[in-house]
């Protein structure tokens, strides 16, 4: 770095080897501090940009009370627009809460009652009542949410979607 300094200085009386190496040492320190300041700014910016509003919401908001078990007939799918999920009651009477977000690119999938399947309008992925993929490009089954049944009331915890590759029997909640 010392070759950066103007001519005049190198010719100056105090430009002994010691002084110039001291200068280049100080120069490196300044450079390092500058670099540190830049890094700090980047760190700060990254923190400002960190996902907001994704923290665990308090229980009152994230638990949706869907209704009494008897309200849902086996083999039906009910939409809950406020909770952004579908409550499916399978033929065996078990419950499954499905995210309405297509796993391909995130469009909202409507339930088509006549065909008994979810069909994504964006790129025609299709899912069955359990959220399993019937038709690609969807790479995996619809996310599901934790379901609880307390005193005959179905409650869905929408704070965190559960990612899954495909439907498994254990995901069903029986009343």
């Amino acid at each position: 770095m010392s070759d950066r300094r103007p001519e005049v200085e190198t010719k100056g009386p105090d430009s002994t080897v010691g002084a110039s190496s001291r200068r280049s040492f100080l120069w490196k320190i300044w450079l390092g501090l500058g670099g540190l300041a830049v890094l700090e700014y980047i760190w700060l910016a990254a923190d400002f940009l960190r996902p907001r509003g994704s923290g665990p919401a308090d229980d009152a908001e994230s638990i949706i009370i869907a209704g009494a078990v008897e309200r849902f007939s086996p083999g039906s799918v009910t939409a809950f627009p406020t909770g952004k999920f579908y409550l499916a009651r399978l033929e065996n009477g078990g419950f499954l809460a499905l995210s309405r977000e297509c796993t391909h690119l995130g469009c909202t999938v409507p339930w088509i009652d006549d065909e008994a399947r979810f069909v994504c309008p964006c790129h025609s992925s299709a899912y069955d009542m359990r959220g399993d993929v019937l038709n690609p490009p969807a790479p995996r089954a619809l996310d599901n949410y934790a379901v609880r049944i307390e005193n005959g009331i179905v409650k869905v915890d929408v704070s965190r979607p559960l990612k899954r590759r495909s439907f498994e029997y254990a995901q069903i909640v029986l009343p």
């Binding site: 907001r52 309008p121 025609s124």
Partner: protein, 465 residues
Amino acid sequence: MSDAGSDQSEGRVGLGRRFWRSVFRGPLYPRDDRERKWVVVNNLILHFRPVQLPARSLKYTHTFGLGGMSLVLFLLLAATGVLLMFVYEPSPERAYESIRALENEVFFGKLVRNIHHWSANFLIAVVFLHLLRVYFTGGYHAPRQFNWLIGLTLLLCVLVSNFTGYLLPWDQLSYWAITICTGMIGYVPLIGEWLQGVIRGGPEIGSATLINFYTFHTTVVPVLLIVLMAWHFWRVRKAHGVVVPRAPGEELEEKPESVLALPNLLMREFAVALILVAFVMAFSVFVNAPLDAAANPGMSPNPAKAPWYFVGFQELLFHFHGSFAVVVIPLLVAAALVLLPYLRYDHQGEGVWFVSLRGRQLGVAAALIALVVTPLWIVLDEYWIDYAAWLSGLPPVLREGALPFAVLLALIVGLYIAIRRRFSASRVEAVQAMFVLLGVAFAILTITGVWFRGAGMALAWPWNL
């Protein structure tokens, strides 16, 4: 510095003239070439441009004025964008309503929005064409290598600027286009979900997303663009203007005849700018920027498409597994663009359109190949190829990603070697042929996505969309 006329007795000169003289260093009305030079050198803005340049590089069909047009469009965007900021409110509750109010209640609000919208779209097209012009006239070789990189960064900024602006109206079109584009980011291995969260400002598109996009759109990217453009122009000046044009096989004389930028270059650019502004204005009077229904997170439109400049990537996603369509292929293309000026070329053909006569022929051949193979691939993939059924034993990343990608790569490398051997093409000619091949393929992917994909993104004829 020669302050012509400053030695006249100041007392006789009126206040107005004295004021103007205090503003402009040097003569106001240059009378001879010496003074014209000083006008350029002494002016903060003009001195980004060359003072003099080879007479032959003035030829319009050498640059088509595309770089200057990019600047003009940027200025139009800045002027209209500031006006829009006075009316627009960046919150999911108010955004759509404020755009409606802009269109229906604000004096000339619709026109201002139209100018902003169309300038932004033209800018993408013009910057792409400018990139092609620079590439095909060999304007990227030393000493202009680094300016090519500054240019690529400008291209990136223009794309980000457009993309972030796309969300702001918060209508069905913008909401779902941003949903699927940020959805594509989810396919990035390992960091995909995190990256998606940072860009959206949370797990889903909402007010944090809008604030992020608004800040990038109105502050970060414009500032970057201004700084990078200044740097870009200054590097053009330091390279003594644009690469000097010549015919294939023609040798340039050591010192080509040179002319002054003022008036020769600057007046030409001014004329191009005026025509462009007139065109954008007229276009914006007659064609309205789209505004769909207000965003409805519960209902996706059918089909949902990315903005037109990303539709080519969206189309890739139908033919390759996500990690290849979203990560491997775009990264390789970006790396290739960055490396282009730094490859070791045996001869360069600077300033010659398409390097040489052979370069032109190979370019046409490559374009024809891409024109046949790409649509064929798209149609076969839609109606016949069924990796999942044929190769059910392989994981999807291999059968829908690595396998078709390997075929594609083999095709490109094979073609490259064939061109080098069979036609004894120089490296710069062969690389150019590949550039044409991939460029045309990308154009076809984009055209397919925009005009040939209908409901459910199935192939369809444009008149049936």
